[in-house]
């Protein structure tokens, strides 16, 4: 999402920059060209007007001059017109009738005042330049030069420059898009590597040679991953060492406690009680160490395989001396689930143990699947779980609220935390609700996966 945003922003930025630059260039070129061409034309018009004025002055200097004939004698071509105002009367060639309206009054006043002048006007719908030259006190000569061709040239120039600006902007956008593709490629490879690492592949690294410009990012990233994997390896080794160091003496204790238990009848009352305590605590300590190590392995993914869960439920019930009939009819027909057998076995075992320890014993186990999720429900006969406890009982070392529950010495306080962890390892979750009719109902939901 962000990546696309950055890319769009860069592309738009490039396009806008290119458009601004090309528009400015186009406007400046247009202005310079236009004024240069116009000045040229004006200068030519003024020169032509003076030449013609000189000719007319000479002709009008003769006796009884024919003003119309004089004007007609000038070679004006297609784009120029000439008119003469003499004693308040306009003289023009026949073809030029009506042109006088295009000559502004202000210009006429200036020329009548004895000074030559020029002005740009629109005449007969066309741009034109008017040059007025006073010939005498009563006579003024006007030269009108039509700029139609120049106007056309400028229009074409404007169009071409606009097109160039648009094409440049498009090219800028394309360049931006292309550049971001290359700029973002190393970022994508960082993202890919990060994803691989998240998925547990700690060997993923960035290739320093692939992007020399990003050497710093590459080396910091790789250093970070190195450190991370070293730390994970250290933690793993620590857990393994701790487990080994705890398990070896526990093995001695377990074997020795078994000898004491077997010979308890040979002991006197006090010693027998003490031996019983030792054996019970060794068993609990053993369970605690196993539970802690199970929790320490939280990062391991679920090893999913096809499992006959209803059979597993019956086995777990048997191993805990619970009736197999706890499994409600219907669960029998379950197709194999694709789950981590070891984890689900512990989930079932821990939920049943929890029901026995705090819930007055399990009353039903249900299996099923709904909306692409497997579910396991374990009901018990106890007082239920208070609403404010329904979240925290899945935390570590939280024990059930039943009076005297602590006193039975059975639990480690980790059973439900392990259930929650195993559910999470499958991408699922566990929750507890009140069972209709009293008691608690633990429900584990796991997303279904095809075999």
């Amino acid at each position: 999402m962000n990546r696309a945003g950055l890319r769009t922003r860069v592309t738009v930025g490039f396009a806008a920059g290119a458009l601004l630059l090309s528009t400015t260039m186009a406007l400046v070129s247009y202005q310079i060209t236009r004024s240069s061409l116009l000045e040229d034309r004006e200068r030519n018009a003024v020169r032509a007007a003076y030449l013609e004025a000189a000719v007319i002055r000479t002709r009008l200097g003769t006796d009884r001059p024919d003003v119309g004939e004089t004007l007609r004698s000038l070679d004006t071509g297609q784009t120029r017109r000439t008119v003469l105002r003499r004693n308040g009367i306009w003289y023009a060639r026949n073809a030029d009738a009506g042109i006088t309206e295009a000559i502004p009054q202000a210009l006429q006043d200036v020329v009548a005042g004895g000074r030559p002048a020029k002005q740009r006007v629109r005449a007969e719908g066309q741009p034109a330049v008017v040059v007025g030259v006073p010939l005498s006190r009563s006579t003024a000569f006007y030269h009108i030069d039509y700029l139609k061709e120049l106007d056309h040239t400028l229009r074409v120039l404007g169009l071409v420059l606009t097109l160039v600006a648009i094409i440049t902007a498009a090219a800028g956008a394309g360049l931006g898009w292309y550049a971001t593709r290359y700029t973002l490629r190393p970022i994508r490879s960082v993202a890919d590597a990060a994803r691989e690492i998240t998925n547990g592949d700690l060997t993923a690294r960035l290739d320093a040679a692939a992007e020399p410009d990003l050497a710093q990012l590459t080396s910091s990233f790789n250093d970070m991953v190195d450190q991370l994997s070293r730390r994970i390896e250290r933690d793993r080794r620590f857990a393994a060492d701790v487990s080994h160091e705890l398990r070896s003496p526990l093995q001695t204790l377990a074997a020795a406690a078994s000898v004491l238990t077997r010979h308890r009848d040979d002991l006197d009352e006090r010693t027998r009680t003490a031996a019983g305590l030792v054996a019970d605590e060794v068993a609990r300590f053993q369970q605690l160490v196993n539970d802690l190590l199970e929790l320490a392995r939280s990062d391991q993914p679920a090893d999913r395989r096809a499992v006959d869960v209803s059979r597993l439920v019956r086995q777990v019930c048997r191993s805990r001396h619970l009736p197999e009939s706890l499994l409600e009819p219907g669960g029998e027909r379950e197709q194999p689930w694709v789950v981590d057998r070891r984890r689900i076995e512990q989930v079932l075992g821990n939920l049943l143990d929890n029901a026995s320890a705090h819930g007055g014993g399990p009353s039903a186990v249900r299996l099923g699947r709904v909306d692409g999720r497997y579910y396991i429900e374990v009901d018990d006969e106890g007082p239920g779980v208070r609403a404010d406890q329904q979240q925290v009982i899945f935390d570590r070392f939280v024990r059930g609220g039943t009076a005297g529950a602590r006193g039975d010495g059975g639990g480690t306080g980790l059973g439900l935390a392990i259930v929650a962890q195993h559910a999470a390892a499958h991408g699922g979750h566990v929750e507890v609700r009140d069972r209709p009719g009293g008691g608690a109902r633990f429900r584990v939901e796991l997303p279904e996966v095809a075999g």
Partner: protein
């Protein structure tokens, strides 16, 4: 003979195991190193060997391989290591079972009884079965490939017989654990590793098995 040999370098663990297993009715001897254990087993063969993995000098894996070289005796690893890697390596070296410390004596005793039942049980009277060049002769306790006997451990032999008995049908890992190992609940990796070991002995290419095929998601089948 109900002898158990315990190869364990930790004196306290060895002593406590010896005492506890004696209480369970076994004749138990213990040695602190693999070298002593191997010698002891040659001189006075025990019915079952318990071995730790982390031993001074020759380690547990090497000890298992050395014992396997001459003997099909059931070997049970009792180790504090619970990495899948360690478990698979030990089973691949030739161990029949793997238990993680601390193991309750009741549990250990149940496993030993199951092993004993297996090695003494008379197999169902099945006539010799032939699969291409592979021959399983339950009565003689022999496996032959192209007429040559193949050395297999007792567990491997039972596994092969079970699959041969149901040739052409799929047996799940749990079914095999129950029927071959006699365990109601057990580690499915036991089955996988034993199948892998058998393949190395009977298949031309164990990566593309001709006889012992995996049926994905279900289990294993011996191909007729």
């Amino acid at each position: 003979m109900t002898g158990v040999l315990v190869i364990e370098d930790d004196d306290r663990i060895r002593l406590s195991l010896v005492l506890a297993l004696q209480d369970e009715g076994y004749t138990v001897r213990g040695t602190a190193t693999a070298e002593e254990g191997i010698l002891e087993q040659r001189r006075h063969p025990a019915e079952t060997v318990l071995v730790d993995l982390m031993l001074p000098g020759v380690d547990g894996y090497e000890c298992i391989r050395e014992l396997r070289r001459t003997d099909g005796v059931p070997i049970v690893v009792v180790s504090a290591r619970d990495d899948t890697h360690d478990i698979v390596a030990a089973l691949e070296a030739g161990a029949d079972d793997y238990l993680v410390k601390p193991v309750a004596i009741k549990e250990l005793s149940a496993r030993l009884r199951a092993l004993r039942r297996r090695s003494r049980a008379t197999l169902a009277p099945v006539p010799a079965l032939t699969f291409g060049e592979l021959e399983v002769v339950p009565e003689a306790g022999e496996v032959r490939l192209r007429g040559q006997p193949v050395p297999v451990t007792r567990t491997e032999f039972r596994l092969l017989c079970e699959l041969a008995h149901h040739a052409g049908r799929v047996l799940s890992r749990q079914q095999l654990l129950e029927r071959v190992w006699d365990y109601a609940v057990g580690d499915e990796r036991l089955v996988d590793v034993h199948v892998g070991r058998l393949r190395q002995k009977i298949e031309v290419d164990s990566a593309a098995p001709r006889y012992l095929v995996t049926v994905r998601g279900l289990g294993y089948r011996l191909q007729r």
